[in-house]
C-alpha cells in the first residue's frame, strides 16, 4: 500500500521548533522529517517535550519560533487545512466522558462534516472494527483502559486521516492490551497511514517505529532506525537464575567459556554475562545442560531507556527497567 506514495513525500517537516512555557523551554529547536507512510517514534522520559512537540504539530499550540508543516501545509498559517489531515489521540483519552462510545463517534463524525445518518453508519462501522459494539451504549466510566484507548483511536480515525498522532498509546496498559494496541497500529500502517507516536519504552519504539527520535530536554539528541540506535547503546545482558545458589561460580565459568566472555556470579544464584548477539543465547544454555546445572529462569535484558540516555546524553532517565523474559 505504501507503494502508492512517492517516497520523497514528507508527512511532517519541522525546522527549529521552539515552545516556551513561562521560563521553561519545553521544546528547544526540534527539527523533524517524517516520511509519509512510515511510523516515527518520539522516545524520551516524562517531561522531555514529546507531548508539547505533538501538540505543536497538531495545531493545539502555536510555536514561539521555528516552522512546521504537515503534508506541505504550514501548521500555523494553514491550521484549518492541517486539521483535515490529522487524527490526534492524546495521552489521556480525549473523548466526552458523559457520552456513550456511540454518541462520541456520532458527535465527532458530525463535527467533521458527516451528515447525521452517515455519522451513525460510520460510528457503527468503527465500533465493530474496534470490537466496541457490545459496549457501545455503556457509560464511559465503566470502560477499561484498553477500551478507552481503542475508542479514542476510533474517534481519531473517523475522517480516515493520512496522519495520526499517538501520544503514549500504551502507557498504563497491561501487556496483553498493549500487544493489541501494537497490532492495531501495525494494521493502520499497512493501510498507508503515517503514524507519529511518543513513548517512554525503548521496546515499543523498537517494535513499531521505522525511525526513532530520542528527545531530551526539548531537543532531539539522537535520530535513526531502531538498530542504529541500539548499536550506539551497546550490548544486551544475559541473566541466569540457578536453582542451586552454590553453583553460581561454576555456572559463571561455563557460561563465560561458552560465550567467550567474562561472566559474573552474583548473590542468590544469579549469573550475568554480556551478550553481543542475542542469537547465541542457546550456547551457554546447552553447556550448562551438559554439566547438569539446573536453571530457574533465563532472561535477556534489553538495553533500557536509561542506558540509551546514559549513553547518548550522559545523564539518566528515571523510567524503564524492562527485562524481556525469554523463558521461565
Amino acid at each position: 500500500m505504501s507503494s502508492e506514495f512517492n517516497s520523497s513525500d514528507l508527512a511532517v517537516e519541522a525546522h527549529g521548533l521552539v515552545k516556551n512555557f513561562g521560563t521553561n523551554r519545553a521544546v528547544d529547536g526540534v527539527d523533524l522529517a517524517v516520511p509519509a507512510g512510515s511510523v516515527y517514534g518520539f522516545l524520551g522520559p516524562n517531561g522531555a517535550g514529546k507531548t508539547t512537540t505533538i501538540r505543536l504539530l497538531a495545531t493545539l499550540l502555536r510555536p514561539d519560533a521555528g516552522q512546521a508543516s504537515v503534508f506541505g501545509h504550514d501548521v500555523v498559517r494553514e491550521a484549518g487545512k492541517v486539521r483535515h489531515l490529522i487524527g490526534v489521540t492524546g495521552q489521556y483519552a480525549s473523548v466526552d466522558e458523559d457520552l456513550t462510545a456511540r454518541e462520541n463517534l456520532i458527535l465527532f463524525g458530525c463535527l467533521q462534516g458527516l451528515s447525521r445518518s452517515t455519522a451513525k453508519e460510520r460510528a457503527d462501522q468503527l465500533l465493530e472494527e474496534f470490537t466496541l459494539t457490545d459496549a457501545a451504549s455503556r457509560a464511559l466510566k465503566k470502560f477499561s483502559g484498553g477500551m478507552r484507548r481503542r475508542l479514542d483511536l476510533a474517534v481519531s480515525l473517523i475522517s480516515v486521516p493520512p496522519l495520526v498522532f499517538l501520544d503514549e498509546p500504551t502507557t498504563g496498559l497491561d501487556p496483553r492490551t498493549r500487544n493489541q494496541m501494537w497490532d492495531t497500529i501495525r494494521s493502520l500502517v499497512a493501510r498507508g497511514v503515517t503514524i507519529l507516536l511518543t513513548t517512554q519504552y525503548l521496546d515499543e519504539a523498537d517494535q513499531l517505529a521505522d525511525r526513532i527520535a530520542v528527545i531530551d530536554r526539548g531537543a532531539v539528541v539522537a535520530e535513526g532506525t531502531a538498530s542504529e540506535l541500539k548499536a550506539s547503546v551497546g550490548n544486551s545482558t544475559m541473566e541466569l537464575h540457578l536453582n542451586d545458589h552454590d553453583e553460581a561460580e561454576l555456572a559463571a565459568e561455563i557460561v563465560g567459556l561458552a560465550l567467550g566472555v567474562r561472566a559474573k556470579a552474583h548473590h542468590g544464584g544469579l549469573v550475568t554475562a554480556p551478550l553481543s548477539d542475542p542469537g547465541t543465547v542457546f550456547m551457554p544454555l546447552e553447556a550448562l545442560h551438559e554439566h547438569s546445572i539446573a536453571i530457574a529462569s533465563v532472561a535477556v535484558a534489553q538495553p533500557t531507556l536509561d542506558e540509551v540516555f546514559l549513553t547518548i546524553t550522559g545523564h539518566s532517565a528515571q523510567d524503564a527497567d524492562e527485562l524481556q523474559e525469554i523463558a521461565a
Binding site: 486539521r83 472494527e129 492495531t184 493501510r191 497511514v193
Partner: protein, 292 residues
C-alpha cells in the same frame, strides 16, 4: 524478544480489528487531498447545533447537575412567597401578582451564571483538545453551549410560573402576558449569559467563575424591586435600585403580566439586553478564539 507471546498476538489482531477492509482501506495520501481551511456560515450553524445536541444529552444524563433550573425555581418561589408574603402584603394571595414576576426575573437571571462555570469546566477537559484538533467551526463549543442553555432558561421560566399557578397566582393579563414575559426573560437571560461566558473564558478556574458570578448576581438581584417594596429602603439604596437594570427587568415582567403593557420598562429591558449582546458577544468571542 516476545517470542512466546507473538503467537497470541495473531489471535488478538483478529479480535481487535476485524479484517473489514472497507472501513479504513481508502487512505488518500495527504498531499493529494483537496481541502479547504475556511469555515462557511453553514458549517458554523451545523456545528453549533451539533454542540447543542451534545449539551442536551449531558443535561438529561446528569439531572442532578441542572437542579438550578428544576428544583431551585420551585424552592425559591415557595420560600420567598410564604416567607415575605405575609410580612409585606398582609396575605400571600395579594402578594403573588407582584412577587411572581420578581421571582421570575431573579431565578431565571441567576441561572445564566452556570453558563460561565460550565464553559470553564468544559474547556479544562481533555475533550476540548479534540475539538481544537478538528476542522470544525472554532466558535461552535461556545455558541452551542449558549444555544443549549436557552432550554435551561425555558425550564426555569416554565417552572416558576407553574409553581405560581399551583399556589393561586392568576395573572390579570392572562396567558398572553405570561408567554410574552416568559420569552422576554429568556432572551434577557441569554443576553446576560454572554457576560458569564466571558468570565468563564478568562477566569482561571470553574470555582473562581462561580465565586465571582455570585458576587455580581447577589447584590444585583436582591438590591432591586424584585422582592421588597422600594419605598421601605433608605434613600441611597433607592437610588441604586432605580439604576439597577434588574429593576427594569422586574418592572417589565410586572407590566406584561399585570396589564399586558409594553411599557417603558419592556423597552428598557430589550435595549439593555441588546447592548449587552452587542458589547459582550464580540468580547467573549475574541477572548475565546484567543484561547482555542
Amino acid at each position: 524478544m516476545n517470542t512466546i507471546t507473538d503467537s497470541n498476538d495473531v489471535d488478538n489482531t483478529v479480535e481487535n480489528i476485524k479484517t473489514d477492509k472497507t472501513v479504513l482501506s481508502a487512505i488518500t495520501p495527504g498531499t493529494v487531498r483537496t481541502i479547504s481551511g475556511a469555515t462557511s456560515l453553514g458549517q458554523v450553524f451545523r456545528d453549533t447545533l451539533t454542540m447543542a445536541w451534545r449539551h442536551f444529552i449531558k443535561m438529561f444524563r446528569n439531572p442532578a447537575e441542572f437542579t438550578d433550573v428544576t428544583i431551585q425555581p420551585i424552592l425559591f418561589t415557595l420560600m420567598f412567597v410564604f416567607l415575605f408574603g405575609g410580612a409585606i402584603a398582609g396575605d400571600v394571595k395579594s402578594y403573588l401578582p407582584t412577587m411572581i414576576p420578581g421571582l421570575l426575573a431573579m431565578s431565571v437571571l441567576t441561572t445564566a451564571s452556570v453558563t460561565g462555570t460550565k464553559m470553564r469546566e468544559d474547556m479544562d477537559k481533555g475533550v476540548f483538545d479534540r475539538f481544537k484538533s478538528l476542522p470544525m467551526a472554532r466558535i461552535a463549543p461556545l455558541s452551542g453551549a449558549l444555544l443549549a442553555d436557552t432550554l435551561r432558561y425555558f425550564i426555569a421560566t416554565t417552572l416558576t410560573f407553574a409553581t405560581g399557578f399551583v399556589i393561586g397566582y392568576r395573572p390579570e393579563s392572562g396567558m398572553r402576558g405570561v408567554v410574552v414575559a416568559g420569552l422576554l426573560i429568556i432572551f434577557t437571560t441569554w443576553a446576560l449569559s454572554w457576560i458569564f461566558a466571558l468570565l468563564g473564558v478568562i477566569m482561571p478556574s470553574a470555582s473562581s467563575v462561580q465565586g465571582l458570578s455570585m458576587m455580581i448576581l447577589m447584590p444585583l438581584t436582591f438590591v432591586s424591586n424584585a422582592i421588597v417594596p422600594v419605598a421601605s429602603m433608605p434613600s441611597w439604596l433607592q437610588a441604586f435600585v432605580k439604576v439597577n437594570p434588574i429593576t427594569h427587568v422586574v418592572s417589565a415582567m410586572r407590566d406584561l403580566t399585570m396589564n399586558g403593557d409594553w411599557g417603558v420598562d419592556v423597552v428598557w429591558t430589550l435595549v439593555i439586553s441588546i447592548i449587552i449582546v452587542v458589547v459582550f458577544a464580540p468580547l467573549t468571542v475574541r477572548a475565546y478564539m484567543r484561547k482555542v
